[in-house]
């Protein structure tokens, strides 16, 4: 029964592709137009695995409604030595679906697509901008891509970007009937339909239709949690001539270890000797590791260089030892080699690095889920993770790049999923105390000390290593709300422990901080740490997601000029919500005005209705933060 349905489907699309499709823009369902800059009229992605190759055939018809859809119509195809493009061709139609022109591969520009920061990366792109000088227009194009591997099958994301609606989109994966795969459906409205093709291949097909355009909503969860996607991974695969099989993280980790990582850690005898002399007399494993980690930091620097088994295999440790540079894989492997020379076990961990916390999917093992590697020290009850690409980061501290997420540790006994430490709202602290004096002329002067902890430790990291002239310029930008800021003394200290602390002390002054008007003096109560209001979102679709929590505390004591008294109702704001709290108060005693402010934002996912509360919360905070003090003459 299923088979019949599927055949019918093939037939109907078959007819359509033969050129009778009417791409008139007026045929688009009105319900798909809100927030859409372009509409996918039809998309067919066909993927076939055969003889160690993955073949993709992509056909796409997109109607561009206005200039904002041009970037969606800009056809961009990535390729490299092992992913070869075959046959790009297409046509452009006008508003009424009338054919205007055809294009083919010769119209495409060819460019290097490597990241600027990479020393080397085999990544190229062919791209073309179809255009007819009027809107709407429709482009229809197709191409084939032949990938010399079967480890990474591209995900199918039918609606991957904002402003794009979808009329119809389908995905078919085909392989020999005895070829076993695993697949994962994420937010798919309909389940897979399994059938077979006329040449005897087993097919898995998914379809979606009438997806509305997605609007960018602030404080949304990571896109993977609410967009539709299908992920497929074969059980047996070939990659760069190496074959393997896996059906879970344990087996994938084992393959990684055996085929990509093992036997790449030999070090020259003098380095081994150096390791031994560095760690001589230290018995504690963690202290030993710390010593070697700091040695590695002092010796190496990070340079991105994507070579070696499709970018998956690290350079030899002996190369890093000689060149003193490497990418994340090479530096992790090198650190691991140093540890090994001191008899310390450690694990190479694949992670998705970035401020957004993206974890390995617990129930679906596949290779392509990471973009970075870190090192794990599996000390009993004290598992420690190390970032190996920074010369400055404290031992055992991950910052906001790889914190609080699931990573794959590749151990000699197979893969293990581990979770990196979370830095909580009460640990990510910025705490400031200032003692300022204001003169009758409006000049501000005084001292200010700020402590940065947890993920806020790195807030002002850029100041480290700058000369004083550079530091002053940087501080003038950081404290931009104090105009005419002069820094008389500046000190920045870092205590590089696992939960590191940075302390910044500034002696400053600023003329015209308070302004005179009609015998009054005005000044901004909070010139140091101001929150802006956030954008409201009507008809919000997504829950509220706060990626990382923090606490900021500010306390400023102003000594007011003689002869003046504040003419103001005392500020007293106290807000409490599940996602955070805010308290701001002023107290006046004698000639002193004491301002205290505390904001705590708690990470987590909250229902979409609470977004209105979040907007109100930040508005109230922004109002309190923009409070101006008015002083009048006694």
């Amino acid at each position: 029964m299923k088979r019949v349905v599927f055949l019918l489907f093939i037939l109907t699309t078959g007819i359509k592709v033969k050129g009778q499709t009417n791409y008139s823009a007026s045929l688009i369902d009105k319900a798909l137009l809100p927030y859409a800059s372009a509409v996918i009229r039809n998309q067919d992605v066909y993927t076939e695995v055969k003889d160690g190759y993955t073949f993709y055939r992509i056909k796409r018809a997109i109607t561009v409604l206005n200039n904002n859809g041009d970037n969606i119509a800009h056809i961009v195809v990535w390729y490299n030595k092992s992913n070869v493009i075959k046959d790009i061709k297409g046509s452009v139609y006008d508003e009424f679906g009338k054919l205007i022109k055809k294009f083919s591969e010769k119209n495409f520009e060819d460019e290097n697509a490597a990241n600027d920061f990479s020393l080397f990366e085999d990544s190229r792109v062919k791209h073309y901008i179809p255009s007819i000088g009027a809107y709407p227009y429709t482009i229809e194009y197709e191409y084939e891509l032949k990938s010399k591997q079967t480890l990474n099958i591209r995900d199918w994301d039918p609606n991957p970007q904002y402003g794009l609606a979808v009329e119809k989109s389908s995905y078919t994966f085909a392989c020999r009937p005895d070829f076993s795969i695993r697949y994962k459906e994420i937010n798919m409205p309909a389940k897979v339909s399994i059938g077979s093709s006329k040449d005897g291949l087993k097919t898995y097909t998914w379809q979606v239709s009438n997806l509305k355009a997605i609007r960018s909503e602030p404080y949304s969860p990571i896109a993977e949690t609410y967009l539709s996607a299908v992920k497929i991974v074969p059980k047996d695969f070939v990659y760069s001539g190496i074959s393997g099989l896996f059906s879970n993280w344990e087996e994938l980790g084992k393959w990684n270890y055996d085929k990509l990582l093992a036997n790449r850690q030999a070090l020259p005898p003098q380095t081994i000797q150096q390791v031994q002399s560095l760690t001589a007399g230290i018995t504690d494993v963690k202290l030993k590791a710390k010593k070697l980690y700091e040695y590695m930091q002092g010796k190496t620097s990070y340079i991105s260089i994507q070579v070696g088994i499709g970018g998956y295999q690290p350079f030899l440790a002996s190369d890093v030892d000689r060149l003193n540079y490497g990418d994340c894989k090479a530096l992790v492997n090198y650190t691991q080699a140093l540890f090994k020379a001191a008899g310390i076990d450690s694990w190479y961990c694949v992670v998705y690095g970035g401020s957004d916390k993206i974890s390995m999917l617990h129930d679906f093992a596949s290779m392509g889920q990471g973009n970075h590697v870190i090192l794990c020290l599996p000390i009993k009850n004290d598992t420690t993770f190390l970032e190996c690409t920074s010369q400055k980061i404290p031992f055992g501290f991950l910052g906001d790049f790889t914190d609080d997420r699931t990573v794959l540790a590749c151990t000699p006994n197979g893969g293990k999923l581990l979770h990196t430490p979370k830095y909580t709202a009460t640990q990510n602290i910025q705490s400031r105390k200032a003692e300022f004096t204001i003169t009758p002329d409006g000049e501000l002067s005084g001292n200010m000390t700020t402590i940065y902890k947890g993920t806020q430790y790195e807030n002002h990291e850029v100041l480290v290593g700058q000369s004083l002239t550079e530091q002053v310029k940087t501080l003038q930008r950081m404290y931009a709300n104090i105009s005419n800021l002069t820094v008389k003394k500046f000190e920045f200290k870092q205590d590089k422990k696992e939960m590191p602390v940075a302390t910044e002390a500034i002696n400053l002054n600023a003329y015209d901080f308070a302004s005179k008007d009609n015998n009054k003096l005005y000044f901004a109560l909070n010139p140091l740490n101001r929150q802006r209001s956030i954008k409201d979102v009507r008809n919000r679709q997504n829950p509220v997601y706060i990626n990382r929590g923090y606490t900021d505390e500010d306390e400023i004591t102003y000594t007011l000029p003689a002869g003046y008294r504040p003419d103001m109702a005392p500020l007293n704001v106290n807000l409490k919500n599940p996602f955070g709290s805010f308290k701001a108060t002023t107290v006046i005693s004698d000639n002193k005005l004491i301002y205290k402010r505390r904001i705590e934002i708690i990470d987590g996912t909250y229902n979409k209705e609470s977004y209105a509360d979040l907007v109100d919360f930040y508005q109230a905070v922004a109002d309190a933060d923009s409070y101006n003090v008015m002083l009048v003459k006694n």
């Binding site: 927030y35 009027a134 402003g163 620097s301 060149l323 003193n324 290593g465 009054k520 009507r538 103001m568």
Partner: protein
């Protein structure tokens, strides 16, 4: 075999020349190794110890080539300069001109933890070559063993197979240099114009003649050997609101003036005078031919059908080209064919604006092309003509007694307005029937915003009324571009409403969105929640409800380069408030009126209260496009005054 031999020969000739001044590769002194900072600039994270360049023009089996040899030695003081150890050399390599980078050599001299000095050589297998696109290739390598205090050194030879592309030399860079030297060796068959730009003085320049230095297939001539040196060169530190750093960099440029074919003796004038360029462009297939032949007659006839005045025709043609050729983000001063651009609906700057020139002429409007250099590309030199200085072309339409400068690459630009990137000193009008001439590229319009708020305080404590803004000139252009990033006006207003927080938009109207030459109007019925409720006796109210200035954009104690905004600007804000009966104004902000010297600008506020109504107004005006470094402190002070004034509240209270 031949090639190999040639390379060896070149190498030998180079080493003999270079011996004179260029230090040998890899030498260092203990003092250099131990140096912890650069005394002349203690904020430097690295500095160039020595830098040498030499360029030689010579014959090879496949024509005349330029051999440019570069050699630099850099002291790395701390980790903020480690990126100097990753070197990227971008070079031109297209179907017509093949350049290459050869003889790359690099090394790092460093002190190890025990104080021993070591040298690590660049591994040849770690040099990566990539093709960026059809015009450019790149060589990239990372020097090994970079650490604080090390000295990196590298050299390479660039072989250029086009003697028009004589390498320039940049004395100044983003790090200071102790010494920089450039030597050129030019056979008398070739004559180049040499131009030195920038504020720094050469330490020395020397000119010698080397006899019979060039011999090729019987041809023979002397060479001029020129040596330019500069010592103790400060780093160029970029500042906000400045134009291209290139305009201020000390550098030396070479442009081919004429050359004599060594084998035939035929003299080729390249750029002697403007009239030569005028002649070349007039007859060039990629320029004059596209304009002269009225290629677009059939395209333009329907566009101007029914239009009577020249102005109407010009606007229609401009709008037609704007809409029908999409810019592909490449700049250029030539066209691959105006018909092709219109047929494919895509093209570079040259394709679009030369098509515009052709189309306007076809419509009977006398129009010339204007070559210019964009802001990022730097100001063109005026000493002698250099075609390569230009990177952009626009149209100059002459209608009646007026002239209009036009750029059709952006469909949102109104007729007669140039984008900021084109407002760069002067451009050259290339008239096809008379000599070319310079024209000023200045803003013809201001960037001006007028906002009016007319609000009534309601019994519920909310302010209700209208918020009207009119955007003119560049302000309108930018606003229109913002609105067009939304799929519809409704989506724009919805987003604005969402962003404005306490301001609710009840009704909206946008005027002249598509009438690009008229002011853009936005009229909103609004309700603003300022006070929460009216349950207080006394209200403090800041009259600047939108875009209050709280941070001074000017922070430096002294300024080196001019502040260049490209155009004058003004912001006017008027608030009319109607209070319910029974309120009196207790205090109001002091009126302020401050001007910049030489009528450069002003800030004025005013307050007038009468009964239950008051009016507050606020004007910020900058009358010039460019302010000199001497005027910087006045600008900074003006902003201080704006910030101070905009902090003050209006206080009103219930009548007792």
């Amino acid at each position: 075999m031949n090639k190999l031999l040639l390379n060896v020969l070149i190498f030998i000739s180079f080493s003999t020349i270079c011996k004179a001044q260029d230090s040998t590769f890899g030498d260092y002194t203990i003092e250099e190794m131990q140096q912890k900072s650069y005394p002349a600039d203690t904020s430097a994270h690295a500095f160039v110890l020595k830098e040498f360049g030499s360029t030689r023009l010579d014959a090879s089996d496949n024509g005349i080539k330029i051999y440019f040899k570069y050699h630099v030695k850099i002291k790395i003081l701390d980790s903020k300069a480690f990126d100097k150890g990753t070197v990227a050399i971008l070079y031109y390599d297209s179907d017509n001109t093949h350049n290459e980078i050869t003889d790359i050599r690099g090394q790092t001299t460093y002190t190890d933890d025990n104080g021993g000095i070591h040298v690590a050589e660049l591994d040849k297998s770690k040099i990566f070559r990539t093709t960026e696109n059809k015009y450019w290739k790149q060589v990239k390598f990372a020097l090994p063993n970079i650490r604080s205090g090390c000295i990196i050194e590298y050299s390479y030879t660039k072989v250029i197979d086009n003697f028009y592309m004589f390498p320039d030399w940049q004395f100044q860079d983003d790090i200071p240099k102790v010494y920089s030297e450039y030597r050129v060796n030019i056979p008398a068959f070739w004559v180049y114009n040499v131009m030195i730009r920038g504020p720094l003085k050469l330490t020395s320049s020397k000119s010698e003649v080397e006899h019979d230095c060039f011999t090729s297939r019987g041809a023979k001539c002397d060479c001029s050997k020129l040596t330019y040196t500069m010592a103790n060169i400060p780093a160029l530190i970029e500042e906000d609101y400045m134009t291209a750093p290139k305009n201020f960099l000390s550098a030396i440029y070479f442009n081919l003036e004429y050359w004599t074919n060594p084998y035939t003796g035929v003299k080729n004038k390249v750029t002697k005078e403007w009239k030569d360029i005028d002649y070349n462009l007039k007859h060039a297939e990629y320029f004059g031919s596209q304009i002269k032949k009225d290629l677009l007659k059939n395209y333009i006839a329907p566009v101007i059908a029914g239009k009577t005045s020249d102005m109407e025709k010009a606007v229609a043609v401009y709008s037609y080209i704007q809409k029908n050729i999409k810019w592909n983000n490449f700049t250029s001063v030539s066209s691959e064919g105006v018909r092709k651009a219109l047929d494919t609906h895509a093209g570079n700057v040259g394709d679009i604006n030369i098509a515009l020139v052709a189309a306007l002429n076809s419509a009977g409007i006398k129009t010339e092309a204007v070559l210019l250099s964009t802001r990022n590309n730097g100001i063109v030199n005026k000493l002698y003509p250099v075609e390569n200085d230009f990177n952009y072309v626009i149209a100059k339409a002459n209608i009646g007694t007026e002239t209009y400068l036009l750029d059709a690459t952006d469909p949102m630009l109104p007729f007669g307005m140039l984008p900021l990137k084109c407002l760069n000193d002067q451009g050259r009008v290339m008239s096809l029937d008379k000599p070319s001439y310079w024209i000023d590229l200045v803003a013809t319009q201001k960037k001006a915003l007028t906002s009016n708020l007319d609000l009534t305080l309601q019994p519920n404590g909310k302010l209700k009324g209208t918020f009207t803004t009119y955007s003119n000139g560049y302000e309108a252009y930018e606003k229109r571009k913002t609105i067009k990033t939304f799929n519809s006006v409704d989506e724009y207003v919805e987003n604005l409403d969402e962003k404005l927080g306490k301001v609710k938009i009840l009704k909206s109207e946008i005027l002249n969105l598509d009438s690009l030459s008229l002011p853009l109007g936005e009229i909103y019925d609004v309700e603003i929640d300022v006070f929460g409720s009216l349950n207080h006796d006394r209200f403090s109210f800041n009259p600047v409800l939108f875009d209050r200035v709280i941070a001074n954009p000017f922070k430096l104690a002294e300024r080196t380069y001019p502040v260049d905004w490209g155009m004058p600007s003004s912001k006017r804000y008027i608030l009319k408030m109607h209070l319910p009966a029974g309120y009196v104004i207790e205090s109001a902000p002091q009126a302020v009126s401050i001007g910049l010297p030489n009528k450069g600008g002003q800030f004025i506020t005013d307050f007038a209260g009468e009964g239950d109504n008051f009016v507050y107004s606020n004007v910020i005006q900058f009358n010039k496009s460019l302010y000199s470094p001497e005027e910087y402190l006045y600008l900074k002070e003006l902003y201080n005054k704006i910030i101070a004034s905009e902090k003050a509240d209006i206080v009103f209270s219930k009548k007792k």
